[in-house]
């Protein structure tokens, strides 16, 4: 003879990640590290942008390179003599707060002012997972098509800074870069949208100023 029972659980899996993310931010704040979650599609220029920021910004930096196989991007950052932790997600399409916590323990945070966390190239899955960063910078490029923003609204809704990269080739790929800016503004009226070309250097100074402004807020 068995008995059936109902058990209330009320465990929000998303909330569990958000709690871990808050813990990560506390770890970062303890050492006064400003963390930027860098999100964007595959090939939008996330790694190249971080490389340029490492070269152009004066603050001591560190990088968490998240990828399905992270050694390629991690190797690129190591050339600049900054602390780097590669996070392999294996089969997963995004970083989560738990993975990032492990990486934080492997970084000399006391000697770091800015931490770039390069997320897995993907405009969908990372949206659901806060990492504990202070800002989310979304990097897309014109070569992904000028309907990219419309097709992935949530990531832009949550963004603190949006970069539209490779504008030097917009004409060649038939992309309307101003439409992309307008589409972001509909979703997120107050966000700063910066048009860049890492090839010509256009917009790089504005990104640095925007990040520094967030740091001083």
């Amino acid at each position: 003879m068995h008995k059936i029972a109902e058990v209330e659980i009320q465990h929000d899996i998303m909330l569990a990640n958000r709690k871990l993310a808050k813990k990560n931010q506390k770890i970062l704040d303890k050492d006064e590290v400003f963390a930027v979650d860098v999100l964007g599609a595959i090939g939008s220029g996330k790694t190249s942008l971080i490389e340029r920021l490492i070269q152009e910004m004066e603050q001591p930096m560190a990088v968490i390179a998240g990828d399905v196989i992270s050694k390629f991007d991690a190797g690129r950052f190591e050339k600049y003599d900054v602390p780097v932790v590669g996070l392999n997600t294996g089969k997963e399409c995004h970083l989560d707060a738990h993975l990032v916590e492990h990486a934080l323990h492997d970084l000399p945070l006391a000697d770091v002012d800015i931490l770039f966390i390069e997320n897995v190239g993907n405009l969908i899955c990372p949206v659901d997972f806060d990492l504990g960063s202070h800002i989310r910078m979304v990097v897309i490029s014109v070569s992904e098509g000028d309907d990219t923003v419309e097709k992935h609204p949530l990531i832009f809704k949550d963004a603190d800074l949006v970069v539209i990269n490779k504008v030097d080739i917009a004409e060649a790929v038939g992309a309307d870069q101003d439409k992309m800016v307008d589409d972001v503004k509909i979703l997120n009226p107050d966000v700063q949208v910066i048009k860049t070309s890492l090839k010509t250097g256009q917009g790089l100074k504005e990104i640095i100023e925007a990040i520094e402004k967030f740091m001083n807020e």
Binding site: K3, A5, E6, V7, I9, I13, M14, V127, L154
Partner: protein, 129 residues
């Protein structure tokens, strides 16, 4: 495709609760998924079925309920659920239904909540609890 990791977390949460409650079998699991998550309930359900094999959840019925989207408008102060019937999937985060402003914050609809489970206990255990 983070349905796999979410389904894995759901299964682990249920196994943990089932063991704590001395279940001998899990009959039913109810999960609430926010309409504004980027999770596909169909895929979650498939993953749950696969991951349940050879666990205490094997054969359980999974009930997936939807949590509606609630927003707060920074312009007019509207706070509440959005009737998204007939609208594009993401229209609720674009336009306030009251003032048609764009200063929208999403206050509900991003959850993935393991709500409750129905378990079978042996009579002896049932009397203990």
């Amino acid at each position: 495709m983070h349905e796999l990791s979410m389904a894995d977390a759901i299964v682990k949460t249920v196994i943990d609760a089932a063991e704590k409650n001395d279940a001998i079998e899990v009959l039913e699991v109810t999960v609430e998924i926010g309409k504004m998550t980027l999770l596909n309930p169909e895929q979650i359900k498939f993953m749950l079925d696969v991951l349940s094999e050879d666990t205490i959840l094997a054969g359980a019925t999974f009930i997936l309920e939807e949590i509606p989207i609630e927003i707060e408008c920074g312009s007019c102060g509207y706070k509440g659920e959005i009737d998204s019937e007939g609208l594009d999937e993401y229209t609720p985060i674009l336009i306030c239904p009251k003032c048609e402003g764009h200063e929208i914050s999403i206050i509900a609809g991003r959850e993935c909540n393991v709500k409750n489970i129905k378990i079978e206990k042996s009579d002896e255990d049932a009397q203990d609890s």
